[in-house]
Symmetry: C2
Subunit: 346 residues, 2 copies
């Protein structure tokens, strides 16, 4: 049969006819764990191969009620932490048999609305939410339709939703301890977006740590987890006479911290860490570059991803299981952007 006349969408009936077997036999051959003889398998596979047959999983999902699709919603990839996270999430999900539909939602609620609608219409088996701005009503919408949701890197007070996050509170405390031990006395904080849990927890922990060292926050500015606002915040904090400016700053994300270092060194002519110590959060790839050498708290991406996938898959496979939260420890990575205390042991 000339290839040009080949039927475009080959189905299991075509394969069955060519192999001289029933259609359901074909289905079984392509169903892992079904009961088929080797002879049957060989005949069917050969027929399938010669027709270029691939089972239609969309059709299959109709009856199994499993699409093996996971919806991933994320704000954007500007911050270098998220490309790492998304890539590993998608890879890990694939390892355990799921495929990823990914959506980017910046600020607008309407866009997030469409995203949830798409998840529901495509009958995704589960949802991973890494967006900073998704309100809890979307979570409710999914869970009500029986679609389990896992919050990635943010928490809600609501224990009815699974979530994985790093220990932002302890991270904040660690930085405070490190900076206080380094002899800093005018310590500032550069905040992320005020409405998200990571920001809040990092700041609360930081203030706790400062208090424990007998210090109070010297100053504070807001960078919204974005580059330009962070740069402006750095100017607000540091474009002052030497004795009125902070001698250290904890920046709520590396993405912002790298921009802050650039402003400090290239706009304001300050030396890091001689004039000011900078500590970030995330350990993005550029944090380790010789041009920055940013001291920061590492979020162990693989660990976080592993937990997220685990949390999601367990609820997909055993819907009766209750939601769970996990909290992954962070690790201070000491580089040279902040003065290192004598005999720092963690």
């Amino acid at each position: 049969m000339p290839q040009r006349l080949m039927k475009l969408n080959v189905n299991s009936i075509d394969v069955a006819k060519l192999a001289g077997v029933s259609q359901s036999a074909v289905s079984r051959v392509f169903t892992p764990g079904a009961s088929v003889s080797q002879a049957m398998r060989d005949r069917v596979m050969q027929a399938a191969a010669s027709l270029g047959y691939q089972p239609n999983r969309l059709a299959g999902s109709l009856i199994t009620h499993r699409s093996h699709l996971i919806g991933i919603a994320i704000a954007f990839l500007d911050n270098g932490f998220y490309p790492m996270a998304v890539e590993r999430l998608v890879r890990r999900l694939r390892d355990v048999g799921y495929h990823s539909m990914v959506f980017f939602d910046r600020e607008h609620a309407s866009s997030a609305d469409d995203t949830v609608e798409a998840f529901l219409q495509y009958r995704v088996d589960g949802v991973l939410l890494a967006s900073v701005s998704l309100s809890s009503s979307w979570v409710t919408a999914c869970e009500r339709s029986g679609v389990p949701v896992v919050l990635f890197n943010r928490t809600q007070d609501d224990p009815h939703v699974s979530a994985v996050s790093v220990d932002n509170l302890e991270g904040g405390r660690t930085v405070a301890r490190f900076l206080a031990a380094g002899g800093h006395r005018r310590i500032a904080y550069l905040a992320g977006r005020e409405d998200v849990s990571t920001q809040r927890d990092r700041e609360v922990g930081f203030r706790q740590g400062l208090a424990a060292a007998g210090l109070a926050l010297f100053d504070r500015a807001v960078g919204h987890y974005a580059l330009d606002p962070a740069r402006q915040a750095a100017r607000d904090l540091f474009d002052r006479p030497a004795d009125e400016r902070p001698d250290a700053v904890f920046v709520a994300s590396d993405h912002m911290a790298l921009g802050v270092m650039d402003v400090l060194r290239f706009e304001l002519g300050l030396a890091v860490p001689h004039d000011v110590s900078v500590v970030g959060f995330d350990d993005v790839p550029f944090a380790g570059a010789p041009s920055y050498r940013l001291t920061t708290l590492r979020q162990p991406v693989d660990h976080v991803v592993e937990d997220a996938v685990q949390l999601l898959v367990e609820r997909i496979e055993r819907p009766a299981l209750p939601p769970r939260q996990t909290r992954v420890p962070v690790e201070l990575v000491v580089r040279e952007s902040a003065r290192i205390p004598d005999a720092w042991t963690g």
Copy 2:
């Protein structure tokens, strides 16, 4: 009816019953452009809302033969160009009504194999290939099943496949002209992966431009588009006495170029651009950072993405249309990592 007893997977029949209309009426209400009275639409929408009904697009695709799914395959997100590209690709596709299944394939052919299989099994309407390593046989597999493919940022000599790329050849020539005009005489090239078209075209164009200026390549090393190999290549090229080392280097990607700058400045103690000029390719976000200020060729992401989506959608919607290739112009972004020729006008 208590919410806890609510049926989990509401279908169009449930909605029809509640609204007291036929099932096909429900379908019409949710089909854009179908013929329904306003009264019918209102009744159905109300019933649907009260049940939380969302049409099952997987079922719909069975009959329409359109999944509105696009398969995107990409190597990885290490290189800062790709996060930008993927994010915009996914957004743009969504704007025109398509949803993205994304896959990451590093080197292994078997993984790419699985990816194509998944694309076929999920009956994606089209495929976008941004992976560097996907061989042309996958393209054939998709196109034979009637799934149009667009190559993103790489070309094949084969005109039977749609492709969008930037003008790497002209880009290479431009850099040569710029460096020659800057008075450099020992000009080196740091290559990407030898087996991909972007690398080849950039180098060919570069050599052409050098020849036109009466120069030949002074030296060459290979960085495989990856950070560590690029850093090693930089050492090989520059860890020599002053009169034996290049006075300028064109690096085939910014991702590598930033690493090269770090080695030059922090390991080898060379000043950029005083001792050596560096030019990159891509214009990734960090290229503009004050710490680097890398002179580079900008790939206009929005333009490239626009073309890619256009090329794909036109073939999905009019399958008879032949594949096309587009070539997007690049633009030299002059910063301070390379000596600027007097009166440089482009």
